[in-house]
Amino acid sequence: MTLGELIENCLYLAEEIAGKEETAEKEATAEKKAAAGMEAAAGMEAAAGMEAAVGKEADGIARFRGFVQSAFPVSAFREPPLRKDAARIFHIFLLEIAGERDREWGEFAGLRDVYDCRICANAIAQVCLRGILQPAAPGVFAGDRILSGAEAEEALQRLGRFLAAS
C-alpha cells in the first residue's frame, strides 16, 4: 500500500464513519421528537443538526487533507509509507477527524527510538497508546522501516475498531 493509498483509505474510513454518525443522529433526533409528537420540528432539527455535524466533519477532513498534502513531497505519495509517516497520518486523523486529544505517553515514552524522529515522536506514542500501530519489537518502534501492506491493513482495521469503540 502506498502512502497515497493509505491516506485515501483513511478518508474512506472517515466518510464511512461520518455516514454512520449522520444516520444515527438523524434517527435518534427523529425518534426523540416523534415521541414528543413533533414530527415536523423533528425533521427540521435533525436536518440542522446533521448539517452542523457534516460541516464539522468536512472541516476536519479538509484539515486532514491539508496536513498530509503539505507534509509529504509529491513523490512520497507513490511509495510505501515508513512506519513513522504512517504514525503521523493516523495521529492527525485522530486529532482532526476523530476529535481525539493527545494523552500522556505512558509506557511508550520508553521506546528506545521514539526521539529519532522529532516530528513523529508524539504521533508514534499516540498511535501506539491506542493500539493502532504497535512497536515492531519490544521497546522499538522502528519508524524508519517500511509499513508493509499487511501492517497497513491491520492498522486501518484497528483504527476502525478504535473509532467504533470510542
Binding site: P73, V74, Y115, D116
Partner: protein, 581 residues
Amino acid sequence: MKTLKPEKITKDTCFDSFGKGQPLYGKQKGHLPAMGWNSWNAFGSSNTEALTKAMADRIIALGLDKLGYRYMVLDDGCYKPERVDGKLANEEEKFPSGFRALADYLHERGLLFGMYNDVGTNLCAGAAVGTCGHEEVDARSYIDWDVDFLKVDNCYYPFDNATFSRPGNARYVYAPIIRSIRIGAGKKTSAKEGKLTGKVAKRGRDGSVSGLGTFDGTGPKYSPLGVRSSELIFTVTSTKEQETTLTVEYATGKREGVGAWLQAAVNGSLVQDGFLPETAGEDAFANSDPIRIFLKKGTNVIRLMNHRRQENTLQSYARLLKYLRKYAPEKDILYSACEWGKTQPQNWGAKVCDSWRILNDITFRVGRDGDPGHGDWVSGYTNAVTSQYNKAVIMDSFAGLEKGWNDPDMLMVGMGGLNHHQTKTHFAMWCMMNAPLMLGLDLRRVERDDALYRIIANEALIGINQDPLGIQAKRLYCSLCETRPDTAYVRETDRVDILVKPLKDGRFAVSFINLSGKKQEGGYGISAGRIKKVFGEKVSLSGRYEVLDVWTGKTKQVKGEDFTASSLKPYENITRIYTPV
C-alpha cells in the same frame, strides 16, 4: 538532478579557525537575545496566516511589543511541499495572502517578520523545500518577503546522519578506522604510536583507532565543554626538508564512529580532505593511495582526523548567509541556527549566527488551535525544561554580544504540564541565561495581569535578559557539585543552583533555583568574595545594596557581604537584582 556534495573548506570555515570566531560575510553582531513569538510550540505544523495575525494583534493588545517581543516567526508547515518554478511558495490554504502581505501586516504594526527553513533537502515536517543547493534563490525570496529573522533547521541533511538523513551519511563525518601510516617507502608506524586527542576516539585491541570525528550533541548525554572531537596525531622526525608521501592503512564504515572521509594535515596544512575508497568492511583494511606531503627538517606533526561534522554544517549555514548578505547587505537579519547541538555549534556558531540551539527539542507534544500542548519539567531526554537548562547553564563561556547566544529552545510558558512555580522558574532561567525569549503559546489565552501575563511581561526579568552588557549568568553554586559548579554537567535535578549575572552599572542579578520537587530549607548563599573573584570589575560590591525581588516587585535596602535565600519551595526561584548604593 545535480549531485550534492560538501563544499571545499576554506581557511575561514575550517576547524582550526573556530577559535578565532570572526563572523563570515560581514555578519552583524552585537544583538541582544531575540524576543518574540514562534508558531511551533503553540500550533505545530497547523499554524495559519489567520492565527499568526491573531497572535500579532494579541502581542500589541497586551503591550508585549513594548516590552521587546517583536519577532513573529513562522515555523515549519507554512510552505508548499514542493518548489514552484524552483522557488519557495506559500501553502495557499494556510497562508492565502502570501508571505509578503503577512510581513507588511506585521511591519505596519511595528512588529518584525521571521521565517523558517532547513539546511537539508527537506524541512523537518517533510516539505521538499530545504535550502540545500537553493541558497541563492531562497535568499532572494526571503529578501523579497522582507524577512527580519530566519530560523534554519537541520533535517534531511545530506552530509551528516542528521534527523531524517540516511544513517549511512555518517561516512561523511567520521574518518575510517586507522591501523597504521607509512611515510615514503619507510616502515609502517602503528596507530598505537599516535597520540589521541579528545574523548570520541577509541582504540581497538590491535591498536587501530576509530571514532575520529565529533560527538553528536543532539541528546543530553554528553557535556558541551572540553574537546568535543578527536584526532590521531603522529610526530615524525625528518633529517631534511623533503617531499614524500603519506600512506594510510584504513577500513571504512558508514555509522556513527566509523566513516570514510579522511582529513590529514601536516604541520597545519591540509593534505587530504575527502573520501577514501570504500573497503569491503570494517575489518578489511586497505592502503590509501600515497598522499603527497612536505616534511620540514626536524619535528613534523601529522594529524589524521575528520572535522566535517562541524565544518559541513557551518558551511551550509554560511552559504545562505552569504547570499542574504550579498542581496541585502544593509539588512540586519537575525539568524537562528537550529541544528540541535548536534555538531557542537557553540564552537562555530559565532561565525554565522546570532544563536544556536543546544539540544533536540524542548517538547515533542506541541499544541494546536484549542490544545496548549504539553511540556515537562524533567525527562531522560531533551524534552524538559531542566534537560535544556542543565546543559545551557554551563555554556556561558560561549555566549556574548560579539558571539551569540546559547538557545535552549522556545519557551513552554503556557503549555500544559508545568505548574505555576515551574513556569516562573523556566522563564527566570531563560532570562538569566540570555536565552532567546520566543513565546510559544496561543496568546488569546493570556489577559493583562493574569498569571501567565505576569510571567512573560515581568519587566525586571526581561531587563535581566536584555541587559546591554550581554553576559550570560554563571552558576556559582550547585548543591550537588560544589567544586566546579560553573563547568560541571549535572543532570540530577534534586538540587539548588545559584546563578549570578553582571548587569550594567555594576548591578548584578542573583537567582536561587530549586530544581527539585522538595522544599529546600537550611539556607543557600553565595559570598561577595566569590562573586568578586569570578566577575572582578564587572560587578560593584559596596556592602550596601538596594535589592529588587523580581517576582514581588518589592525593594529593600540591605547591608552585608552574603547573598542568601533561607528556603525555597518546590521548583521555586528567588531572583533579585542588587544595585550598589
